[in-house]
Symmetry: C2
Subunit: 417 residues, 2 copies
């Protein structure tokens, strides 16, 4: 560990942030709220002893720049916003690890590091208020669907453009934030895993291969309502039966796919009364895979299965795409550096895909070499006040992430020459 | 056919009623509404040429009595009320067939028939407004749960006692209606089948063995919410998967039971979002059988299956009884008379249980010998404006039901002597 790096300070700052912005239900740093503004003011206070420049870009992302000899930049990114009743580590862990890394780099180099290092706090990663995640990073990457975003409203009917205006952001200019990526040479993001993989393996840290591509659909089976007492079983067109058959099938589809996952998250029934066979059953299907070919195959298999179950039950089936995103594989060389950093820190590493999306997916999509590091989550749970990670693992991840930052700076320099 | 019976007149009166009380969405004779009051006024007009006595009992049931030499009474029952957007035959068919039978009996006997014949229009069979069916007949049989019924409200917050007061019924006295059954010697009810059994067999009429007993439960599977992207398939505690497995299982349970039916009518999921494994899944299960032992076995098998699926999926399961009613087998001798009447009318008969409940179930529970006759339903559908029965089948059923009434009067006389 670099002698000037103090991971215990990061843990202490995370606790300080929790006390400042959480309550008995969890973290309350929802983007674009007064608590979020307060959080950012606190963050800037932490940075004020460093010779950095700070500004908020056209999309509301907060950039802190430690200027180096070269304009080529290493980006370290995270997000201070949380879901309502969120966990204490999701997002802010990497921003505060980034603060500690800036301190270490500043103390290590006299005056200026060889390349520029920039810490970004992305605006509204969670999408908790307007239902659309990765707002700031997708504006910056250019992937934001501006027409869709313009119409988003929170539960009080306030539009996203109006909420942005209140924090001084002009919605019509948010994509101007893309200029921030001009000199970006690499992007690093540290995150809690939010799943049980590292916990099951007993490993503190893992190198992330990329974020899953997602195919998200609503599947509706259309049967016939019929009286629960007077309709013999063999005369039924039971939409729930057909939908229910999808439930195992997706486990088989996921298993055949290798590392993919499939989830039926919601089921609604019409008329939905105890005395009638279900006429219409709608389920949501979320499918994720790191390999686009495997993802397409999972979707095709689900469609075939849906047709089969509909036919078996004399019902009809229709599909509606809710959302999709392509897999975002991370940079192979940076993945190798990430593994090196983890091995040097705690001996053993593991490669795993990221099921949840992260701002890193947007940065990778913008063509910037990207990698993420995961630290073990206790309970495999996040977006919940019980979200937690062991303190020694938190310290380890700051150390390993700092090593990765150092290696990546060398990697950027080596590519310049 | 008795020469003075005019089944075509019954069909004409049914059409007249449809025109008077229906609209483009179907029948609108919801109990305790102005349309229902209008319907009863129309019914009484139809009866005014007969030497009958009419009164409304303590529960709002309308009784029309053709007094006979003996006080022993043959009861013919039905209900003029409908669900909103209901069918044109459900309930009123047997009241109007009863009117025609009173006419025939009056014209056949000089002055007085040997026994008393009474037509009853039960109040609120459907329970459309207050969610509780068989109100009038269960008050009369004594089975009404008065404490539960006192608290019932319609969607506007009007209580059942208040609605009854408007039609002159004192809620606290509704069980006084039981005195109407004092001299009852038999009860007959004609109804559309509301199912596809007779349609499938190509038979116009059937003799009903009794009404199914019902076990109605909510089953809740308790799993764990988990991120749809970060949670490997083998780490999930998927409440929907466990609930979905019940879906086939109930088809197997029903098949093993012989003539029972099982229905999952509603499914709700929590948190019910596309990005989470289902934490809690609640389904409703309605099980019906004519044999109480078989019904208990179906329930026990469902409970065993639920435990098994919960165990397999590492989730928990809990059961809540929503409602239950015992099977109401009808009177064996009256079933035989009903079959005789059907065979004499159209050659072939079929015995079948009734899946839906009817007022006959309440009368049978009060110890009155009871039987029902079913006439074929087109589409096997009711509680819907497309509910229909062929006109020649309607005429046949009036003829056969009249024969059953004649045979039952003789049966009552034979038991008196």
């Amino acid at each position: 560990m670099n002698p000037s790096l103090n991971p215990k300070r990061t843990v202490a700052e995370l606790k300080e942030l929790r006390a400042l912005t959480g309550d008995e239900h969890g973290a309350q740093r929802v983007a674009f709220t007064p608590m979020w503004t307060k959080t950012r003011a606190w963050l800037q206070k932490k940075l004020e002893t460093l010779p950095v420049e700070s500004h908020t870009d056209a999309a509301g992302n907060l950039w802190t720049t430690l200027r180096g000899e070269s304009e080529k930049s290493l980006l370290i990114g995270g997000h201070m916003d949380s879901v309502p009743n969120g966990g204490w580590l999701d997002g802010c862990l990497n921003v505060l690890a980034g603060v500690e890394i800036l301190r270490r780099i500043h103390s290590q180099y006299n005056r200026r590091p060889p390349i520029t290092v920039r810490l970004v706090d992305w605006a509204d990663e969670e999408g908790a208020r307007f239902g659309k995640s990765l707002f700031g990073s997708s504006a910056c990457s250019g992937n934001l669907d501006v027409n869709e975003a313009r119409g988003l409203q929170d539960k009080h009917g306030i539009s996203l453009p109006d909420a942005l205006r209140e924090i001084g952001v002009d919605f019509e200019r948010v994509k101007d934030s893309s200029q921030e990526l001009k000199n970006a040479a690499a992007y690093l993001e540290l995150h809690i895993e939010q799943g049980p993989v590292l916990l099951d393996l007993g490993l503190p840290l893992g190198a992330v291969l990329g974020t899953f591509g997602v195919e998200r659909h609503a599947i509706t089976f259309h049967g016939q309502a019929a009286h629960s007492g007077s309709t013999p079983m063999n005369r039924r067109k039971d939409a729930f039966l057909a939908a229910a058959k999808m439930s195992f099938e997706i486990y088989k589809i996921a298993e055949r796919s290798g590392n993919g996952v499939c989830t039926i998250g919601a089921c609604t029934t019409k008329p939905g009364i105890v005395t009638s066979v279900v006429e219409e059953c709608r389920i949501t299907l979320d499918q994720r895979h790191l390999d686009p070919v495997a993802l397409a195959k999972m979707l095709a298999e689900a469609k075939t299965a849906g047709e089969k179950f509909a036919r078996e039950g004399s019902v009809k089936v229709s599909w509606e795409r809710l959302w999709q995103i392509a897999p975002r594989p991370f940079n192979g060389e940076l993945i190798a550096l990430c593994e090196e950093a983890i091995r040097e820190t705690c001996g053993q590493t593991h490669r795993l895909p990221s099921g949840p999306l992260h701002d890193a997916a947007e940065v990778a999509a913008a063509g910037i070499p990207t990698v993420m590091m995961f630290v073990q989550s206790l309970h495999g749970i996040s977006h919940n006040k019980i979200e937690d990670t062991k303190e020694d693992h938190l310290e380890l991840c700051v150390t390993a992430f700092d090593k990765l930052a150092g290696k990546t700076m060398q990697w950027i320099q080596s590519r310049q020459s």
